[in-house]
């Protein structure tokens, strides 16, 4: 019996619109507290927003969008001209510790 992937879970209540849309991450697996047990993926993801030069976790969850995560640890990848960063990884709770490259 294969163990299901466990990921850190967090969605931000920034606005009603964004929060409502991001509730869809809960469909990828059951959430208890800050941990989600993935039903449909082996990938954990983190989406970060850069505010005044500092990254802030916007979403931590089981993957719903990326579909692929070759790395075991969560390496930051820039998006939209460094306004956002994302990371994907394939070990339990790996999305709690993002690795920032140079």
């Amino acid at each position: 019996l294969q163990q299901k992937r466990r990921c850190f879970f967090q969605i931000t209540e920034s606005t009603e619109h964004n929060y409502r849309q991001n509730k869809k991450y809960t469909a990828a697996g059951s959430v208890s507290g800050s941990v989600q047990v993935c039903e449909t993926t082996d990938c954990c993801v983190g989406y970060y927003r850069i505010i005044n030069g500092t990254p802030k976790a916007d979403v931590l969850a089981c993957d719903r969008i990326e579909k692929s995560c070759p790395d075991e640890t969560c390496k930051a990848q820039p998006r939209i001209n460094n306004q956002f960063f994302t990371c994907m990884c394939s070990t339990d709770l790996c999305n709690g510790n993002i690795t920032w490259g140079k």
Partner: protein
């Protein structure tokens, strides 16, 4: 390169969206010359007009005629959000 049809096309999304990093949106390629196999009535009449000597008219073009939506992580001033983008992935091609 054959008659008008669908081909896979993977594009990077990292400049436009937060996720996914890339997606296969497909693209349409190929000939729409006579005899037209996958055209509608307008394309058939247009091709007939061009074949009758009006070579300067815009000829039928191989384009997507059916699409699927793509689920992405979009962004705004308040952060990221899951969004469904309609008509993002080409599913079928035709001469139009």
């Amino acid at each position: 390169g054959g008659v008008c049809g669908l081909k896979a096309l993977t594009v990077s999304l990292t400049k436009l969206l937060v996720g996914p990093s890339s997606a296969n949106i497909n693209n349409c390629h190929g000939s729409c010359a006579f005899p037209l196999t996958n055209g509608n009535n307008h394309a058939i009449l247009l091709n007939s007009h061009i074949e009758s000597g009006n070579a300067d008219e815009r000829s039928p073009c191989c384009v997507p005629v059916a699409y699927e939506a793509l689920e992405v992580v979009d962004w705004n001033a308040d952060g990221t959000f899951i969004s469904i983008k309609p008509d993002a992935v080409a599913r079928e091609c035709g001469c139009r």
